[in-house]
Amino acid sequence: MRGAWESRDDCPVRMYRVSKSYIAGSAALRDVSLEIRKGEFVFLTGQSGAGKTTLLDLLFAAERPSEGQILMLGRNIARLRGSAIPALRRRVGVVFQDFKLLQGRSVEENVRITLDVVGTPRREARSRVFNMLRQVGLQHRRYHSPESLSGGEQQRVAIARALVGEPEILLADEPTGNLDPDLSIEIIELMLNAATRGTTVIVATHDHALLERYHRRTLRLEAGQLAEDEARASADL
């Protein structure tokens, strides 16, 4: 399964002249081209409505580009068959802006869903989920249901679910939007750690404090266009 996807390409994310229009005549993304290297940590920024979520949606095939090509892990997903999408998504962890947690199921079950779909044995899944929840500081909440948690806690559950499968690519849409500064830093550190282990991370955020604090490559969208692609000075870049 994995072999078919393997590639020598050191850029697991490539977009070439990608545009996306939801409504004819108005483009949410316009002629975007970019490459992101394996293990790179990238911020995606821009004002609300600039197209950040749209760009991420294209990368895990939630939407299809209107024009252009997208190579994810060496495979062109612009024209991906529907039946090939699950295999892509199992290698891409996504933190949704609105979390998309299952109400009425425990935190543990919510995180485990990522491991369930790949058939991880129950015992192994439990211990991986437990470790992941400990990393986001929620192990004591594992039997609670999401609706009994604060917004920040729910966000951390969403992050745990995205990371527990050790994805090759992590897409996070405003993952610190509901967190206080201290927690934001912890969560970003978690994702930086994942990047050090080889996960390619794209974090959409409009939080300038984060951009200032971590001098990482920053892609800035303006009205759907890539206005800036800045490799900022950084110790490990």
């Binding site: 699950p86 295999a87 998504r89 199992r90 299952l102 779909v117 129950r122």
Partner: protein, 299 residues
Amino acid sequence: MKRVAVILAILGRSALRGLQSAAVTAAIATATIAIALFLVGAFGLVVVNMEGLLDRFGRDLQITAYLEEGYDANALRGLAGRVATVEGVYSVEVIDKDAALERFRAMSGGAALLGGLDGNPLPASLEITLDDAHRTNEGLEILTSALDGLPGIDEIAHGQDWIEGYARAVALVRVSGYALGTVLSLATLLIVANTIRLGVYSRKDELGILALVGASRTFVRTPFLIEGTLQGAIGGLLALLLLLGAFQVAVPQLQYGLTFFLGSTEPRFFEAGEIVRLLLGGAGLGLGGSAAALIGWRS
């Protein structure tokens, strides 16, 4: 293949959770399947029992040749000997006037009926059984015309007409059973399909999230197929228990009516193979219904 087992366990749990979360609808669907299969099964029971009887009739088929008056014992034996040589005759038994009267007396009411008569009004007869090859309509006709030509034979009677009528009745019951079965199966399919569709609808959010974390089509669908199959299989099991109960209760109640229809044959319940078919039928209906519910649905 450990991964397959792990995934099956996960999907099985998901199916159970689905059944649990919609317990009432699932129970209604299961009960409907049970009732449908019970009705079909009841028809089936009638048919298998009637067919059993038909078989036995065929085996017991015999011709009775009533004789003209005035034969003495010797002449009777002579005639019997000639009949025995006719092609297709397996055995001949002589029933003289006394034996006929004796038999008639043995039947309830016979004695009272004959009480006022002097003498014996019953004719002597030959009871002729056929060999296997002639136990058909044609064989019977050929034999009848051959016997007709023999002197001293007054009238020939056989149960063929009655058997043919009975066979037609069995066929009718069977066809009605098929028709009923078809209609009920379709209704059941629709009900299961509807139940599963409701389940899909009420779990839309969960299914959407599963798709986002990379669940395959099979992973998303299989729990619903398991749910439908379980509903069907449980429905089949309930139907079986209902049939067994009804059989136990009804058979003694209908003793006399059944004796009339079945003669001395004991009414029987389904055999193992027929039981398996009933259960598989239930499971199949459930599976079919849930598969139908998922047609055209994209995760």
